[in-house]
Symmetry: C2
């Protein structure tokens, strides 16, 4: 199978009036609307680094797109189109078919269209996806606009994926629930879009709650205090923490792909309405202050070792 | 060095009023203009596959961006912004500094801005760049619009890079001229932009003249005949072909990043004016016909083995 038949067979599924010209030319051509701004982000996932070698093609495809969609969610954007650069050790029709089916299924769920790609041969599976979305002009949710007095929230629960990863590394069998949170994190696009009129600042938690919240603090020139006991945890993780006091799992485990955002007091009613309307789970974990540092209230007092890419 | 300081140190060089918000948030935010369409393309270069392991950081950076800019050139587009996904076995400050300096220099030459990226650790150097440009609405140069009777042209000379690569593989020392064509192909952006009112169809030659011209034929539902003796060659390559009859080097060597385009007879005066104005070298190598196949006139009569990615 050559590159062209591979693309034709597995990835030729454009269908959007956004895309004037998709796969099959030197570039894709995309129509634009002047009332919007583009938002774009790129993430690479590499075998053995970001997912275990025995991860299914379907889960690899899902996660590769999901972590990129999560960046769009953190901007309050709507997903529009993406490109795929796929490096594979060899071509396996079954693997490719499962990869493409899963990718298309997630893409369709969030209305995002594959417009171009490149396939190359390499020793390990590596997937680079570049997503592009749109926001109404000047409505993007930034990291840099947290204000003193804002309440700090996270969506859903934190640490689930890190707990699954820890169990895998220790040759324990994670529950279906946590392994699913690790392999198939749900991008919080709808929450992000609805937060764009409510939140002051927002980030998605990929490297760990502590490190990612610190990005908001640094870029907004503020500090914060959070209460460890307010961080929403599933029972499995609560039990693990009670036994080990390993708060690093929750604070620095990463791979959550939940949103961490700050809301001014005046918008708390809007947030409550949003919670009631959509049954969205968001939990207050702290408050923005002018201390310029992150204070962790609770039982945890050692410095945390966040995930480092190098 | 962690990912954030790496990006801050080497890649934080945004400066464009196109980019509303660049590196440092979840996504870049880009202003758009409704009179234009976006064109976008992605290409990956991998150590030992697309460049020898001993290639300098400076040449790797140049070529990674240049091959992507070449796709924009083939659409007649103006370059606007790009993202960079960089996989490295380890962080080497000297390497990174040379890589970033070379990347910025080429980016500045063509007015394209780095808006986002991702850095990951992997066994081999791998660079995925996603470029985005703009074309005036419905002015993109496509592969699919060649017409019977069009003359077929290529820019500059063909086979230079393939000749350098062949010499490297045979442990011969290529001349500075050909190794430079291999490592630092000049993206034909200005030519592409000027062709948008002159040419019917256009492609950039990356996989080899025969295969890439065939893409135009297939997508335009036409055939062509080309005359091998009309293909513009440098003297080194002419001598090599005379000695070996290895026309595959020219027809399937690839890595040329020249433009192959078709011009209707009525626009030949415009093309001549362009040639005179800019001292642009373009050479007619054949003509589009309705045969649905590619006929090669000249001494070459064996089927050609084009570069296959898998």
């Amino acid at each position: 199978m050559n590159e062209f038949s591979l693309i034709e067979t597995y990835f030729h599924w454009n269908s959007s009036n956004l895309v004037n010209l998709g796969i099959g030319d030197d570039c894709a051509v995309i129509d634009i609307d002047a009332n919007y701004q583009l938002v774009t982000s790129v993430d690479t996932l590499i075998e053995s680094v970001h997912f275990p070698s025995n991860t299914s093609a379907s889960d690899i495809a899902y996660k590769s797109l999901a972590v990129n969609l999560s960046d769009l969610a953190a901007m309050g954007a709507r997903a529009k189109y993406f490109t795929l650069a796929l490096t594979l050790p060899h071509t396996n029709k079954k693997w490719l078919s499962q990869f493409a089916t899963s990718l298309k299924s997630l893409a369709d769920e969030f209305g995002i269209v594959l417009v171009g790609g490149d396939t190359t041969r390499g020793a390990l599976i590596s997937i680079t996806i570049n997503v592009t979305g749109v926001v109404e002009k000047n409505k993007a949710l930034l990291r840099s606009s947290a204000q003193v007095g804002d309440f700090i929230f996270v969506s859903n629960t934190i640490g689930d994926a890190a707990y699954a990863w820890k169990q895998l590394q220790n040759n324990q069998a994670p529950s279906e629930y946590v392994i699913n949170k690790f392999n198939r994190p749900k991008p919080q696009l709808f929450l992000g879009q609805q937060l764009s009129d409510i939140a002051n600042a927002c980030i998605d938690i990929s490297d760990g709650l502590e490190q990612d919240l610190t990005h908001i603090l640094t870029r907004s020139n503020v500090g914060a205090s959070i209460n460890l006991n307010d961080i929403p945890l599933i029972n499995e993780v609560k039990t693990y923490i009670k036994k080990t006091s390993d708060w690093c799992l929750v604070l620095a485990g990463g791979d959550d792909y939940e949103l961490c955002f700050t809301v001014p007091v005046k918008n708390m009613n809007l947030l409550k309405a949003l919670q009631n309307k959509n049954n969205t789970k968001v939990t207050q974990i702290g408050v923005i202050n002018d201390s310029m540092v992150l204070t962790k209230i609770g039982s945890f007092d050692k410095p945390c070792c966040s995930y480092q890419h190098f």
